[in-house]
Subunit: 440 residues, 2 copies
């Protein structure tokens, strides 16, 4: 149920068969309706603008805790009743938590939309948070941490790499929480958090599918619209990262690792914090450098030199605060990890020195915009795109104009962000090694 | 005016010529009187139990900011008047800020003690914090950061090493603050901080010198005793560090560096957080491993092998939360930094494997206790010892019993803390390199 980073490359245009509509309910809840009439289904999502990076000091894990608590009993429904109602009509549902938001979604037949809204609106304010509920569900998240993080060398390493990359900004704290803090989460913490953040004026409703805006609006007003507005929340101003002046490494050697790997990260601006055009240029840099089988890293290291089993790059643009740009690789055959790392560094240096070609840039734009447009085929990906953008300070216009902004990026701008941000002496690298390589 | 760590090895017995007295004023202010009649002087200190590790998120530097603001005008005295009064009678004064406390002290003739108390009590509650005062003094601390940190490669490295060692506990934040947060400190922040923490029930008065407890008590009641008690403060429970599972490095290469150096740190318990005897064993481990010219590191690396210009170890025991144990070294002649690091690691491994000898332990105890007893000769060192202990959760009894507790430590206990805490795969190392070694 936990996602630490939404696996989408970026925002996209709406489906062709209807204009995206957005409006506010009287209590401040934002609503986005994305008509998509290809199939008789609807995706209903509520995004709360509260994520792990908003947690009070010492209370890590409480945002994700609510991803679980929201499935417990309310004053109107027993625990599990919502799930059973969805199963009974052949629908599906889930929830996820990230640094910047927590979201709940259901995919059902359009006729069930009103019922979904009724259930979802109910649990926004009517959870029964007893000591017993807290204790039971806390055991569940502790076990989730043990199985997902503590038993995985890669996950343990990733956690400490994040906390080494981010020295002040709260993205250094794991979304699932630090064990010693999760163990102490209690009913008083939970009620304070729920009353502060689970309010219509801190939520975004996304409805995508075989629906019309008027109908969605009428249903939303009948359900969510009846909930009283909560107190105004202060702006989401969090501690920001100081400039990095050092090269940092984090190394974990473990007997369960067979193939070594590395990843190097830099702090870079997100769509929300970047100067105009920089985030778009970073998206294209990631695509050209390491976005797939046509990328420079893949072609050079995997295909041509044959030294890497995998090599790539990615940029996580949809974040409220400054974000990270990552390159990674692992060796194949007789190649050493240090060979792969040196070859990745050489490709970065080549872009920083010579830039990218106009042809390469055009193809990357085509590929990138197209891959994102393909996301339209999946209704929930489209809903995710709107939800994550709106929950991190963007708006519908940002999404609609995004392909044009990508089209406008020049080769010089791509080179400029490589020079500006991908400085090896100011990077953070994680190494995952087999046990016998420890200390090498 | 800034100290990030008190340069004392640990607590000590009181001077021989009088029993240490401690009591509370009615408003909750703690008082410790340490008679010392060797010379007609008195050291007067007020310790506030507020340090950089208590700062609200995003407000780094505000504790240290008060070290400056406290010298500005009050409703009763112009800015500089306190300083001039001290100079006029040939006294001296200063202030310092650490992670756990902020302290102000004056050394004067005993006849001036009442006047010192009157000034000090006045500025506890009567500062005039205007936008103009904030702006002027903020420029001073920003300049202090530029000159002390940003222009020193060692200081820049140390800051990022600290933030890499500490991934959750607030000791990762520099005492002076992050530049981008210092720039935004304002009058509203300052007034909130002052009203919360600059209160008699959050302060410890230490008076050491040619005084008698009854006289100190009478003066304290007439000055500090008139200040109204502030609201009760919550316990100082801060985010704690998760277990470290990785080996971390932080590297800075700079043209201004001529001799390379390294330091390796571990998170270890402090006197306040340790199990009985462990902090004492860590103090002795630091002494035997690298506490001075008789230590193993010095004898092996500097004297015998001749590869190091310096090599040593230290343990910072007087902290409110978990603290750090550090080893360090730099090469000499043709030796390489990696040779020195390997030799330091070998000495640690030797203690972890074979322990320390009974003779070596006894000599270290003698040396250590004696060096600390020598501190009695400096009145202000003695006052510092009481102040720092009381401001980090200890009491007068802890200080008085400390030499006995050191005496009880066994060789097995010293070996046990080396094995338990000094694990190289779970350490954090900083490297300061000349520019040409960058990337090596």
């Amino acid at each position: 149920m936990l996602t630490t980073a939404l696996a989408l490359a970026g925002p996209v245009l709406a489906a062709d068969d209807g204009k995206v509509t957005n409006f506010l309910l009287n209590n401040g809840m934002e609503v986005v309706v994305i008509p998509d009439h290809r199939a008789p289904i609807v995706t209903h999502m509520v995004w709360y603008k509260i994520g792990s990076a908003d947690e009070p000091p010492g209370k890590s894990g409480i945002a994700h805790f609510f991803e679980h608590l929201m499935f417990k009993a309310t004053t109107n429904h027993a625990a599990g009743e919502f799930d059973r109602a969805i199963s009974a009509i052949g629908g599906s549902n889930n929830a996820f938590t990230s640094y910047d938001y927590t979201a709940f979604h259901e995919t059902v037949a359009p006729s069930a939309l009103g019922e979904m809204m009724s259930f979802e609106a109910d649990r926004m304010r009517n959870l029964i948070l007893t000591d017993e509920v807290i204790k039971t569900e806390r055991d569940v998240i502790l076990e989730e941490r043990r199985s997902r993080i503590d038993s995985s060398p890669q996950a343990v390493l990733d956690e400490e790499v994040d906390a080494t990359l981010w020295q002040n900004q709260p993205y250094r704290i794991p979304v699932i929480g630090w064990m010693q803090e999760m163990e102490k989460l209690n009913r008083i913490d939970a009620i304070a958090f729920y009353d502060k953040y689970y309010r219509p004026n801190n939520a975004v409703l996304i409805v995508a599918g075989d629906v019309e805006p008027d109908m969605v609006k009428a249903l939303a007003e009948k359900t969510y619209g009846k909930i009283e507005r909560g107190p105004d929340l202060p702006p989401r101003i969090r501690p920001v990262e100081p400039e990095q002046n050092t090269k940092r490494t984090v190394t974990l050697a473990d007997a369960r690792v067979s193939v070594p790997s590395f990843s190097t990260q830099w702090v870079v601006p997100s769509y929300r914090t970047a100067r105009p055009g920089e985030a778009e240029a970073l998206d294209l840099l990631a695509e050209i450098l390491g976005g797939g089988n046509r990328s420079r890293l893949y072609q050079q290291l995997v295909v041509k030199q044959g030294i890497a089993g995998e090599a790539g790059a990615w940029f996580q643009g949809t974040m409220l605060d400054a974000t990270n740009f990552t390159v990674y690789g692992s060796p194949r055959g007789d190649a050493k990890l240090s060979d792969v790392e040196a070859a990745v560094d050489a490709e970065i240096a080549r872009i920083a020195k010579d830039g990218v070609t106009p042809d390469e840039l055009e193809k990357a734009k085509d590929r990138y915009v197209r891959s994102v447009i393909f996301a339209r085929d999946k209704q929930d990906d489209m809903a995710n795109m709107y939800g994550s953008t709106l929950a991190t300070g963007g708006n519908v216009k940002d999404i609609e104009e995004w392909p044009d902004r990508i089209r406008k990026v020049t080769a010089d701008e791509v080179k400029a962000v490589a020079v500006r941000y991908l400085v090896l002496d100011h990077s953070t690298t994680g190494y995952l090694l087999p046990q016998q390589q420890a200390g090498n």
